[in-house]
């Protein structure tokens, strides 16, 4: 009786799972397999069905990815972008999280305020900032010149030397909230006793932070950092809208899409996509191992 019941429950489990699994297979597994396959072909956007197998030509060939300077520039840009945004976001996010972790009147209000940049569509925040960064009429140049920080207005989204800095600035604004919330969740799980003990002993708050808080939330912090890094590596929207497909701010995603759609070289673009996928996959494994994600509860 009990066995029959279990068997019928397991059967219904698979029945319940099937619709979700079919959709995931259709939108995740199959496109991924196709993309990897296409990276070994000379497929063109207009005649994808006539693609011929070319082996590793797209990767190692004379005109392959590994010999393309622009590809390596975009790899370098992506790493540069990831390193700087994640570092700045961690420091700022930690500050915000520490503030939100305190109880004070109006805390709910500032938590809501912090969520606003996160909720704003990336395209919209790119447009809002590109208006604020406008070389002639932008408020940032205006403030900078008035305060004497800038000698002359800067062309934030036109000057090749400033493109990446602008992108980092906007991304930090947009994603620090998310970082802060992840760190806050970690902070709120800490035992209160440690702090009370430290307070009684009259330890300086800065010392408490470095000696007690930081070591205790390190696991949560590491997970948050990797989570953010994975997101930063695939950045596309912000750069595409803020600075376009220009070399100084070209990232791997921007590069891959340009090859795929604008240049219609599906095989070659798929090769770039595939490399990006494996980089992210490697980091994901790292995330799961470090995060020691609780699975299935058994």
């Amino acid at each position: 009786m009990a066995d029959r019941l279990t068997a019928s429950r397991v059967r219904s489990a698979w029945l319940f799972l099937t619709p979700m699994l079919v959709v995931l297979a259709l939108v995740a597994a199959w496109p991924l397999v196709r993309t990897i396959w296409l990276s070994f072909t000379d497929a063109n956007l207009l005649s994808m069905e006539k693609a011929k197998f070319v082996g590793l030509e797209n990767f190692k060939g004379e005109y392959g990815l590994l010999h393309d300077k622009l590809w390596w520039t975009s790899v370098k840009n992506t790493l540069w972008f990831t390193f700087f945004t994640v570092t700045i976001e961690t420091v700022l996010g930690m500050t915000v999280a520490l503030v939100l972790n305190k109880e004070f009147p109006g805390r709910g209000l500032i938590r809501a305020a912090v969520l606003v940049p996160w909720a704003i569509p990336t395209v919209v925040s790119a447009k809002m900032w590109s208006w604020m960064l406008n070389d002639q009429f932008g408020i940032l140049n205006h403030i900078g010149v008035q305060l004497g920080l800038l000698h002359a207005p800067l062309a934030w989204t036109a000057d090749p030397d400033l493109l990446m800095a602008s992108v980092v600035m906007v991304d930090v604004w947009k994603t620090t909230p998310f970082m802060a919330l992840l760190i806050l969740a970690g902070l709120q799980m800490l035992p209160k006793e440690c702090y009370e003990a430290a307070q009684v002993d009259g330890v300086h708050p800065v010392k408490v932070f470095f000696k007690v808080t930081l070591p205790l939330i390190r696991p949560a912090l590491m997970v948050a950092i990797i989570f953010r890094a994975l997101d930063a590596i695939r950045i596309f929207d912000l750069i595409y809208v803020l600075t376009g497909t220009r070399e100084p701010s070209m990232t791997m995603s921007v590069y891959a899409r340009q090859q795929l759609i604008e240049f219609q070289q599906v095989g070659y673009g798929s090769a770039a996509s595939t490399l990006l996928f494996f980089i992210v996959a490697l980091l994901t494994v790292l995330y799961i191992v470090i995060g020691r994600v609780k699975l299935g509860g058994d």
Binding site: S12, W14, V23, L32, M128, A185, L276, G296
Partner: protein, 277 residues
Amino acid sequence: MTGKVAARKGLFYLLVIAIIFYTLFPFYYAILSSLKTGTELFSVDYFPVTWNLGNYVSVFRDNPFATNIWNSVLVSFSTVALSLFLGLTAAFALARIKFRGRSLLLLTILGVSMFPQVAVLSGMFQMIRSLGLYNHLPGLVLAYMIFTLPFTVWVLTTFMRELPKELEEAAIMDGASSWTILTRVFMPLMWPALVTTGLLAFIAAWNEFLFALTFTLTNDERTVPVGIALMSGASTHEIPWGNIMAASVMVTLPLVVLVLIFQRRIVSGLTAGAVKG
């Protein structure tokens, strides 16, 4: 001593004000700019000088913006409905029934949520085209499942796992089918989690850009983010900033209101996937 405490308190509130200013000023400035027309736009002001709603009219006149909004509404609501239905049934199986391969399945789903969208772009493009969905809104809904489904399943599973066992035991004794248990016993308790995940899926679908840009071709099928990104003036050098700011404010205000109402739920939903696992 008290002076020191007061100074510390003052510094703390200064920091609070700085945070609020930093997070809200860009949006405030967008609202401010959207209310200015003509040459007023080219002078920097910190407070509203005029309350001119001209941009809010012209953005609909100069662009297919109403169509864009309607498309976004259709795509976002369909995405939420589909991912909640698929997520809820899958979460029931994953959270309440023990079977072999369950952990591996959860791990795979978590892995999919990390997929960079670009990594599947060409395969997805081919699939959408072969299904005849290129430049059609259902194609976008289907494509969006790749990022809404994993976290919907994940969050709903986490939530459903916490519900007490006794709930369904009585129902099983009465011979209720799994479907009855899910819809009659669990559904009524799941509303908080459904609201949270539905909201996150809605925001993700409403904001999505890469797929919407790649899988649509004509203005009739474009969603809001693509519409705003491609807004241009009479000449390429003449960017219609007033219109863009008005459009930005209009598509963001509903989101800001949702965030204000549901902030607690959003925070718990966002962190459920990452920190607590």
